[in-house]
Structures are given as structure tokens and as C-alpha cells.
Point group: C2
Amino acid sequence: MLSALPTAKVYVTLKKGVLDPQGLTVQNALEALGYDVQEVRMGKYLELTLADRPREELEADVAEMCEKLLSNPVIEDFRFNIEP
Amino acid sequence: MLSALPTAKVYVTLKKGVLDPQGLTVQNALEALGYDVQEVRMGKYLELTLADRPREELEADVAEMCEKLLSNPVIEDFRFNIEP
């Protein structure tokens, strides 16, 4: 029954200019495998299954969750969309 | 100039049924903050800046990168799209 509930897809990415050692490591590994990759930036992706409530409340809640817990606003940006 | 190059957005998620202790931890933390969250699944999100080459080659390459390095095909699924 979980699939009938609204789902928030949250993307957390490092802000421009913030060093990304993990992305650099992945880039080096891909280049070692022979791929031509100019840059790799690592981020997080979360799928939250939410309770069935009005869309506006869900959007306000998810934005708050991102600010409080899911991202570090000093170095990270977030965006999300809620389906369906 | 990197922004003119094609970018692959890659999403790596745990397959259904695979335990996600990190997601569970996030869910517990969100519930402790008072949010009603039914399930949290953690995944990875990568942005790859690629060399400017024909679209079909890029798609084949990124699929290969995902299979070889970016995901663990035993427990993870991946999807990606290439822009522009």
C-alpha cells in the first residue's frame, strides 16, 4: 500500500565551489577505466514515503526536513519534487 | 565552459527488498523531529560532465560506467539522463 502514498524525491548537491573529494575519486577511477570525464560531482538522493496529507503541507514539511536534517545548508543545496 | 558540455545525471538506488540501514536511521531521525514519514530510501546522485561526443556513444558509455563502477548491480539499480 506504500506505493499509493505520496513520495518526495529529494536531491542534495554540493554548492558550486565546494570541494568534492569523493567526486574527484570517482572521476579518477573513471579515467583510469578509459572514460573521458571532465568533472564528477557526488550528491545524495532520497525517496521519502509520506503520509497522505494536503500537498501544500507536504511541500512545507519536506522543505523543512531538508533544511533541518537532510542537507547541510552551509555547503549543500537541495531540491525536491513530490509525486504523484 | 564546462556548462556547455553534456551532463549525465545518474541516480543509483537500492533494489527493492535490500535493507537500507542509512534510510532507516534518517527515518527515525525525522520521526524524532515530529514528521510523519512512512519510509526513507537512500540513494546516490552523481552529475558527470562529459566530453562533447555523439549522444549514442555517451549513453552507451554512461550505462557502462554505471555497471562497472558507479553502482553495485547485485543490490542497486541505476538510471540516468543526459542533458542537454
